[in-house]
């Protein structure tokens, strides 16, 4: 094992550990304060950004980088809880469109505030320059292009 390989392994371990730890703390905080997991929060966030038009199931899945089956399942409890509405497209009967309800918007607004502050807190140790540097370095990683989704419009 070369020194370079050893360093890559260490960096990978650090990266994974940091990411897991922050994710877990955000998930725990979201569940405690709002009863919503980070997965559900991500759905609400994507739908909030999409606005009143909502998003097709496929587009939602693509933005969240999860399978469509996953989207079906994660949205289910959000619909049950009245935070998200599922509408069948009138133009194309196959298409499912999801959008936030008024209740979902209200809740998301509160969650987003807290979420922002938790993330800020995790990164307070880094100056603005260091933050930019971190992003630049992450951008240099060779990330596998997911599937052949690249073709999709």
């Amino acid at each position: 094992m070369t020194q370079s390989e050893r360093n890559a392994l260490r960096a990978w371990l650090d990266l994974l550990t940091a990411s897991n730890a922050i994710k877990k703390s955000i998930d725990t905080a979201l569940r405690t304060q709002f009863g919503v997991s980070i997965s559900r929060f991500d759905v609400l966030s994507a739908l909030d950004r999409a606005g009143p038009e909502g998003l097709r199931a496929g587009d939602l899945s693509q933005r969240l980088m999860v399978t469509e089956g996953n989207t079906t399942q994660v949205t289910a409890p959000l619909i049950r809880d009245g935070l998200v509405k599922r509408i069948s497209s009138r133009e194309d009967g196959r298409v499912a469109i999801f959008r936030l309800t008024r209740k979902g918007e209200k809740l998301f607004e509160k969650m987003a505030d807290e979420h922002r502050s938790w993330v800020s807190d995790a990164f307070t140790g880094l100056s603005q320059n260091e933050l930019a540097m971190l992003r630049r370095l992450l951008g240099k990683l060779k990330l596998p292009l997911d599937k052949e989704k690249r073709n999709a419009a």
Copy 2:
């Protein structure tokens, strides 16, 4: 939302995306070439490092940063496949000790080689200096100390 908060959110998204993408590509490669998930690989790796003494279930869980219930479940198929052996401690009947079988050692050796090269590959875009810088920046993140495990020996 301040500029600083916005930057933290962006950095967090980049961090999570990079970590997910690399993890997924390693998991896929491990499954394809060896029929072993990344979780199981992690168990094999910890046991390999522990050597012939093996590891107690609790210690294994702690090193992998997962719950003990998870360890019980992830080791089960490894035992079924003859890669790991579970032994009851003779000194303390409550304690379960896991260690690699000869077959497990052999397989892990091959997997570790490939794994090392995949990780190296993901980080090839970064110089040794950049790698060190990345680790330094990750070290500045405020990571939530997991539970009150800190007390444990």
